[in-house]
Point group: C2
Chain length 411, copies 2
């Protein structure tokens, strides 16, 4: 691992280092809290969904064979056997030659295998119903067990729970589910020039921007970061804060210390605490001066001090790590969904370094948007404010030509 | 408005009806709570950011003109005037012929206009510093007021606050900001067949799926919906619940009542409460039986009872309405970011109706993913569970051919 000191590792190598941290043990969550979380165990249906066939339309439950060939000009006729209210299983089967009036969601009587929509029927009175359209078996009904059958694994372990999975869990009565624990995150900022955002800086001081920006990104990703008080930019201060963070939190992020001296403090503090330094430097721009350590067996990441660089490192490394720790088996492999745009001009890039370039999008009717590169110093907020997205220039390219189609990740 | 009863309105018309509801009055929020919200008033900088020029790299602050032409083979030499610590404004200007040692983030002394990176210098001892690279004025520094100048409007009213805007607000000391109020949402479910997800259904009953699915979607969008107890599926029950919801919440959503009879109860209850029915039916599929009313001047939406249909109506209408009420001036115009895929086979669609088709994506290396249409009854959860995204077939098309490039919205 010592080679980590001497060369910047690639994005893929950094991801591999992050993978060495084991996902956190699972916990039980209610349905509200389970949204966005990762299933820790498969869900097996203990009942059929639906329990029996249900109408998907208002109309008449029929035997499809008995309305075979019915048309507007040559309708079929059935006798009305019953009205089926919603919320009960009909006790009587449907007698041959009969139909049953039914509303959407109601359960079909035994014998019925389809529903004729009400708009293709006419109630002629005296219990006679005219059918003007044929149906095939299964038409306009939800079949018994079509959503889930007893014993079927309906959700695999590792599934990320979207609203529709929450719906399925509700349907099956799984209102408490085993999910991966969302990591707790300690967010530390260091820098002797920093004052809290609420304070009025004296000349030479600046307000702490990174804590707020990074906390917001973590919050968007579903984490609830704990922001520590500003850490004094010296070995003792950084070491004490790192020790406290690693003792109490699943993931420690230390922002700031972008100067060589401050980075040295971070490395020395980590070493003094017995941490294993896994990487010191990553071959991306911005974001190179990133430190990864295993501290008390937990990940600790020294982020670059420039806010723009720290944002990239969060997007590319920390957010996937959060999902990995939370139990997502595909956390580092999940394709980031991007949308296409056309680069407005050439962008140069250094070979051997993966470049993440901010772009401002100009929407164009009927064409993919134009992506204007937003270049500028990574210590400035301005470039981030102007940007709508990010494009990645792989390490093996020397840049991208204007008019190239690029894949944009929204930020 | 009465025509709303007789024809299904288009998506654009429905959006126009939603626009008639005024955005909610603003409120003040702390930075954490302001994330994702909409600025209610412009932010004007009361100070310069940075207050003075700052180093963007570790190295030596110089007058650029004094290292003009310096190279490895023909270096320049400057005398070291001072070490500039971080967190103070240097009191002395930089004397001619001198440089000042500086770390990233520290403020430059008066007279200096660039930083030579430390790796292109050598400390020769006795106060002599060798410079091996030239710099241009402004190199490796963040200029005074480059992020914000006193009096400048740095964020316009109506801006949606992302992490980077939160960072700028922190930098300027705006830790309490005026933002649009996030609407409170009452989520009502009706249906005599429904029992809460925690309950064991008797034969014929089913668990309430929609409340959980829709609440999860609303929560993802930043709202905190209040789920009412299940509403009895009769006129009195629906009317009482609607009255309570409209009195206490900014937006009322009533899910269920997908049968003709139940829809009639909803319409009758709204009329009895003096509501203005703005639309009854929208020309989309799924999602047609949607009701929009103005109840006590607030929007009330009757959602289709099928969970799939309700999800589409939430995506296309309710989520933009939330943002509109929360103060986003572009809520209905903001381009939904989609990504390209290739349709795996033909999909038919009825002209005059905007179709929203669920698709399952198959990733392919080096090519856009294949989008497999997931067809099936909209009362089933299965199609939603299998789907990764949605494609829209405009009302004027009769379908899309296989191999067509389509724009996929992730779900």
């Amino acid at each position: 691992m010592r080679e980590g000191f001497f060369r910047a590792v690639s994005t893929a190598e950094f991801h591999d280092l992050l993978r060495t941290f084991a996902p956190l043990p699972g916990e039980t969550a209610g349905l509200d809290a389970a949204l966005g979380r990762v299933l820790a165990a498969p869900i097996v249906a203990a009942e059929n969904l639906p329990a029996a066939s249900r109408a998907a339309m208002d109309g008449y439950a029929v035997r499809a064979a008995e309305v075979f060939g019915a048309t507007e000009s040559n309708p079929g006729y059935l006798d009305l056997a019953m009205d089926i209210p919603i919320g009960v299983i009909p006790e009587q089967p449907l007698p041959p030659g009969h139909c049953a009036r039914i509303v959407t969601g109601a359960f079909l009587p035994a014998g019925a295998d389809a529903v004729v929509m009400v708009e293709y029927t006419e109630d002629l009175g005296a219990g006679a119903i005219e059918m003007r359209r044929p149906v095939a078996p299964g038409d306009n009904i939800m079949l018994a067990a079509e959503d889930a059958a007893i014993g079927q694994t309906v959700l695999a372990g590792g599934t990320v729970l979207r609203p529709q999975e929450i719906g399925l869990l509700a349907a099956l009565g799984h209102t408490r589910v085993a999910v991966g624990k969302m990591p707790t995150v300690a967010l530390l900022s260091t820098g002797d020039e920093l004052v809290p955002a609420e304070a009025t800086p004296r000349p030479g001081q600046i307000r702490d921007v990174n804590s707020h920006t990074l906390a917001a990104m973590l919050r968007q990703a579903g984490a609830a970061p704990t922001t520590f008080a500003l850490v004094p930019d010296d070995l003792a201060g950084i070491q004490a804060a790192l020790a406290e963070a690693a003792a109490g939190y699943d993931l420690t992020l230390l922002s700031g210390g972008s100067s060589v001296g401050a980075r040295d403090f971070t490395l020395d503090a980590l070493r003094n605490l017995g941490a294993d330094i896994l990487a010191h430097g990553v071959a991306i721009s911005p974001g190179k001066p990133t430190i990864l350590a295993s501290l008390a067996g937990k990940p600790a990441i020294g982020l670059p001090g420039q806010v723009t660089s720290a944002q990239i490192v969060l997007l590319i490394f920390v957010l996937p790590l959060l999902r990995h720790l939370a139990g997502d088996p595909a956390a580092f492999d999940r394709a980031v969904r991007t949308f296409p745009a056309v680069l407005s001009r050439n962008v140069a890039s250094k070979q051997g370094r993966e470049d993440h370039v901010r772009v401002r999008l100009e929407d164009r009717p009927g064409q993919p948007p134009l992506a204007h590169p937003v270049l500028g110093k990574s210590g400035l907020l301005k470039t981030l404010l102007m940007a709508d997205g990010l494009i990645t220039i792989p390490a093996d390219l020397e840049g991208l030509a204007g008019n190239t189609e690029v894949a944009v990740r929204p930020i």
